[in-house]
Symmetry: C2
Subunit: 499 residues, 2 copies
């Protein structure tokens, strides 16, 4: 067995992780009045997002107040207990001030500065100093260095109901609490990219975002273990460049197989030689050998994504699935209701490519479709409904477009073999604005089978309907292949599960 | 050789295709005052988009005017010559009125109704009647049936400079003239989906959209042949469920290999058994055997896309490439300038997966990078620039973020082996709004090497910058894998080319 499997982590300590995620008080070392400095942004993030603990700005050269909070020269000047120190100072100054934190009895430190393992010899010296001062992290636990800290999301920026613990130097202006937790070895993913996702998909809700950086002490496994126990988390989205404790990681992933409402999705960086080179200069960690990574991922049995976009797309789908209380499809038996033969053809090709099937309809479902179709073009025997002829008949018989669609959807979803539905929706003023989409969404959620919508049409109308569907946790896609892939991934996860 | 290769088309006749694309006058058979009917929408499309020819609404039961145009009972009542007839009436009435068109000397007919080959026996009878009346299309040429007509785009809906020939029953409210032509066997693609694309990417310019439907007479090849000669067209985006004249299709694709500024991109529907079944009930054409399709596509040597979204994404990339006068990369030698190590790692994995390489930098390029990087973290020897340390140094030496980025970009693009650049841009108020993006875009377009941007950050700022980049024909992507795939497709096309 490879050496990497032999490394063992310290006895896991959910108390210390709880302190990192829910500190009652924090000292910001390197807090600054300079609006261009990270030490300013961190305090600003804490204050404007109404962090529910105490904040102490620390800077030996500053006087007065920062966002209403009095500067201290050192953590040793604070009278009350402090749970956590957040460092935003250049790397050289860290060992000494970390020593102050130990003296003060602070339990944990988040080190956001870079300039350690990833820069070679000088950085390694600094690391050795830290190992000595902390007595191999027995005196204080450390997250980082080279990271974006921790974000815990309690509230919702949209409804002016802000709230959370945002300790990174990135800015977080749009966010919403939800059931997704992020663990990432790239601060960009916890910072800029997460901000990007949160502002692009304001409906996506997050609970935590943890940036593990160089993983000098704490790593992915301590947080993964915690999130598997945390009832507010359903989806754990992970980006790693290296595994700190592969055996423990695999064990935790296996544990997730026995939990019904937890899904782990991961992007692994450094899968190729070129990626490994990049990773080394990024976090100073060498990605494992490709074969070893594959062995780890196979044993773990979790969902893999190819890039950040796919990671969050999958996370969004699972987040909605758990929120709506839908059932994972086991066999990949899908159905379709669409008004375009061309889309149906391509969709069939793609579903077949992904190994999904349209099952045959039983007599009951078929009969109710037969009723709405014209005689000259009876419906398909498969759960594949090109709805156009039925809509044309509906126009002649004064049946609304939506009644026709509703009957078709109810018919295929009532078929026991069918595990889910793809519904193509053409969004256009004069068509879709005659319909109550909240009611439509509600009816789609009566079934425990996942329903995915492919939205096409006028951009403004697409966006309006998207918002309603999002609110109702109905996955929707502008792209056919993504829709199929996101359904396929549900089937994969059902195969991962042991319960 | 398979029988399908033996079919030969009529002697190609670019005059008749010119009549279909640029008719001087059209009769709309089935024009209606009823706002809920396709025959109303067609006339409305022609009038509101300022079609530059004459329009004659035809309806034996209507009197008075429609959008200012006098109704006629029959095409035989029109005194002037008429180039084209557009049919929007139920299938049964078509043979008789087609006979009227022949009597009137009308050269071409667009039949948009469905209910022919795709509905079985009754439809086949109708087809046989049409074949007889038209003497196998020697008396009048026919586009369709079961189609969305032709759109020719002359103007720009955004700038209130409307103009074009829109003969389909879909509505076209947002469009822009450009260098892309669409040929599709699914009317949805020419109608709703194209509308979707045009409103989602208002910068994408189209010249023609041709819906060939069941291809009773005219097919993809006549239009493809025309577009290869038309200097206003650079990119031809095709969706087919079947090949009418495979040999001719292959010949035309081979011809395109010798034209520097033409690219053909295609989605083939019915690649799988399930897709073939769907195609049969859609346009009444049976997709060819999978092996045969592969043989045709391989011989054709054109770009293949997997679904509609990818089709238009590739079309957008090539459209921008030709508009900006960029050079196709031959070897797949790419460079990177990015501010995130994590993104760099994943991007490296994906580029390697697609067979792209980061070449070694020569001394000149390396030296100019060395100047902007701090000593403690010198730049990479490869054309792979993690710009963060240089930006940090820039902050200390009062060099703006943009000066640093510009030097790095100039350095890698000046390297002879480098054929293109991936640039990651983090968009955030306070960062990107300090910069003149028109100037930035201009500088990126000084090089003939394609530059692709990956935009991440605040949604509003991303969209603002996207608009500027689009205007300047700089491809930009929210998704890493799509960015890489779109560059890879340029390399494929350069391999297709014989010049």
């Amino acid at each position: 067995m490879n050496d990497i499997f032999k490394k063992t982590m310290k006895a896991s300590n959910s108390n210390i992780i709880d302190t990192f995620l829910n500190p009652k008080s924090v000292a910001v070392i390197g807090a600054s009045k300079n609006l261009g400095k990270g030490g300013n942004w961190i305090v600003n993030n804490l204050v404007t997002n109404r962090y529910n603990g105490k904040v102490y700005p620390i800077n030996p050269n500053a006087t007065g107040k920062l966002y209403g909070l009095e500067f201290k020269k050192s953590v040793l000047d604070i009278k009350e207990d402090v749970d956590l120190a957040i460092f935003y100072i250049p790397n050289r100054g860290i060992p000494e001030l970390l020593n102050d934190c130990i003296k003060k009895g602070i339990k944990g430190a988040i080190i956001e500065a870079s300039g350690f393992e990833e820069v070679g010899e000088k950085g390694l010296e600094l690391r050795d100093q830290i190992l000595e001062i902390t007595n191999n992290f027995s005196k204080i636990r450390v997250l980082g260095p080279n990271c974006m800290g921790i974000s815990r999301i309690d509230g919702d920026s949209i409804s002016e109901n802000k709230g959370g613990f945002f300790s990174g130097f990135g800015t977080f202006q749009e966010y919403k609490r939800g059931n997704i937790a992020v663990i990432s070895q790239s601060g960009m993913l916890n910072g800029g990219y997460l901000m990007h996702i949160m502002s692009k998909y304001p409906e996506m809700g997050f609970r935590y975002s943890v940036s593990v950086g160089n993983k000098m002490d704490l790593s992915e496994v301590e947080f993964l273990e915690y999130f598997l126990e945390d009832p507010t988390v359903n989806v754990i989205a992970i980006y790693l460049e290296s595994f700190k404790y592969p055996r423990k990681f695999i064990d935790l992933c296996k544990k997730a197989k026995n939990i019904q409402d937890k899904t782990i999705i991961m992007v692994k960086g450094g899968l190729t030689k070129q990626g490994q080179k990049a990773s080394l200069s990024h976090t100073g960690t060498l990605s494992e050998d490709t074969k070893l990574i594959k062995a780890i991922m196979n044993q773990a049995g979790i969902i893999q994504a190819r890039d950040f976009d796919e990671l969050f797309q999958f996370a969004r789908t699972f987040s909605m699935l758990y929120s709506a209380g839908k059932t994972l499809p086991k066999h990949g038996n899908i159905s379709l209701v669409a008004g375009s033969g061309g889309a149906g053809t391509i969709l069939s090709d793609i579903t077949m490519h992904y190994g999904l099937k349209y099952p045959l309809l039983g007599d009951k479902a078929y009969k109710s479709l037969e009723n709405i179709f014209p005689e000259w073009m009876p419906p398909n025997r498969f759960a594949f409904v090109d709805i156009w002829p039925a809509m044309e008949k509906g126009m002649r018989t004064n049946m609304s477009r939506w009644e026709v669609i509703q009957i078709a959807i109810d018919a295929v979803l009532s078929e026991p073999e069918v595990e889910g539905l793809f519904n193509m929706l053409f969004c256009r003023k004069g068509i879709t604005d005659t319909m109550d989409f909240d009611k439509y969404a509600e009816s789609l959620n009566k079934s425990s089978k996942p329903v995915f919508l492919w939205l096409v049409g006028q951009n403004k109308e697409v966006r309006r309907i998207t918002r309603i569907l999002n609110k109702n946790n109905i996955p929707n896609f502008p792209n056919l292949e993504n829709m199929v892939k996101n359904f396929w991934i549900l089937v994969q996860e059902s195969k991962n599960k042991r319960i």
